[in-house]
């Protein structure tokens, strides 16, 4: 159990490292030198050393507590995955990250933050593909407990072979949460930093910590659900590989305009829905 605590801190740092690798790979593809891979870890530390206060226009309780909630929900998600808990809880937490984004964006009173928050509401449509992939997983494994799903894969092989479209849907979901992706409209540069604009100092450091943990947990869930039981080092390797593949997509594609991003994700959801109904009826 104490090991779990250390693992939690490791997950946070490794998640930040993955984000750093992400930036580095994008930079190298675009023929820039790019920051060192541990840049995001340094970022988190740097922000925690900066001066901290609360903007005068902000709704202060919300402004601060939303940072606590952001770290809290992903800590909970981490333990749920670790314990092989319910997949629905993970997705619930994923959806709640939206609320956290709204809270970040709206609580400060800044117009940039507000636009980030409003875009986060618009992009809520990207959550739907996720649920459709759950349905496909349930049809095959008959359970929503991550432990059961992993156990099922021990006998029947990785789920990604059985339900490839569902894995693709979940991949898109992870992609939309990565910075610089075509779907990351909530933090695009024309609205400064989107919902994070007004959170600086320790608040931002907390957000960075949450981002690291979030990246780790999402990738861990993806690997556990679609690749089955892997040894620890192989999991880390798989995470790096998935991150690199996402970096390639991010490097080669422009960011979509907000409503286009949603439309494309919605179309994708429609396809997934048809696939799941097909699976449910004929599978």
């Amino acid at each position: 159990m104490i090991g779990d605590l250390l693992y939690l801190i490791f997950a946070m740092i490794f998640g930040l490292l993955l984000l750093g690798i992400h930036r580095k790979v994008i930079a190298r593809i675009q023929r820039r030198p790019g920051p060192p891979v541990w840049q995001e870890i340094l970022h988190a530390l740097k922000f925690s050393f900066k001066s901290t206060w609360i903007p005068q226009t902000a709704s202060d309780t919300l402004f601060v507590s939303v940072v606590l909630i952001a770290i809290g929900i992903w800590t909970a998600a981490f333990f749920v995955v670790l314990a092989g808990g319910n997949l629905l809880i993970i997705f619930g937490i994923y959806m709640l990250h939206k609320i956290v984004e709204h809270g970040f964006g709206l609580s400060s009173g800044s117009p940039y933050g507000k636009f980030g928050g409003v875009r986060s509401v618009i992009s809520a449509a990207s959550e739907i593909p996720l649920f459709v992939s759950v349905a496909a997983v349930v049809i095959f494994t008959g359970s929503l407990e991550i432990g059961d799903i992993v156990a099922w894969q021990e006998q029947a092989g990785p789920l990604i072979l059985a339900v490839f479209p569902a894995a693709l849907a979940m991949y898109v979901v992870i992609l939309s949460k990565f910075p610089f992706s075509p779907f990351s409209i909530v933090e695009s540069k024309e609205i400064v930093s989107g919902y994070k604009t007004e959170h600086f100092g320790v608040w931002r450091a907390g957000l960075e910590a949450c981002n690291g943990l979030k990246t780790y947990v999402l990738l861990l869930t993806f690997i556990a659900v679609f690749f089955g039981p892997l040894p620890f080092l192989l999991i880390l390797l798989a995470m790096i590989l998935i991150t690199v593949s996402i970096s390639f997509i991010c490097a080669f594609s422009p960011m979509l305009s907000p409503f286009d991003s949603v439309t494309i994700q919605t179309l994708f959801t429609g396809l997934m829905l048809i696939y799941v109904v097909y699976l449910g009826v004929y599978g």
Partner: protein, 67 residues
């Protein structure tokens, strides 16, 4: 917030989190309770640790306003 307060809260959160984890390992409290305590205390610990190590111990400088 004073440096001392922030440090204390971070300390309490750290002790509570590790304590609950230890207790659940020993079987005194059920495992879910240990996890729940960690979920609550971990964010508190992180934030107040940050607030603690950057907090000023003296008064701030007079800001430069002469543009």
């Amino acid at each position: 917030m004073k440096k001392k307060t922030a440090g204390r809260i971070a300390g309490i959160a750290a002790v509570a989190g590790t304590g609950a984890t230890l207790l659940s390992e020993l079987g005194t409290v059920p495992p879910w309770l240990g996890i729940a305590v960690v979920v609550v205390t971990f964010p508190l610990f992180l934030l107040f640790l940050g607030l603690w190590w950057m907090a000023r111990e003296t008064d701030a400088d007079i800001p430069f306003l002469g543009y």
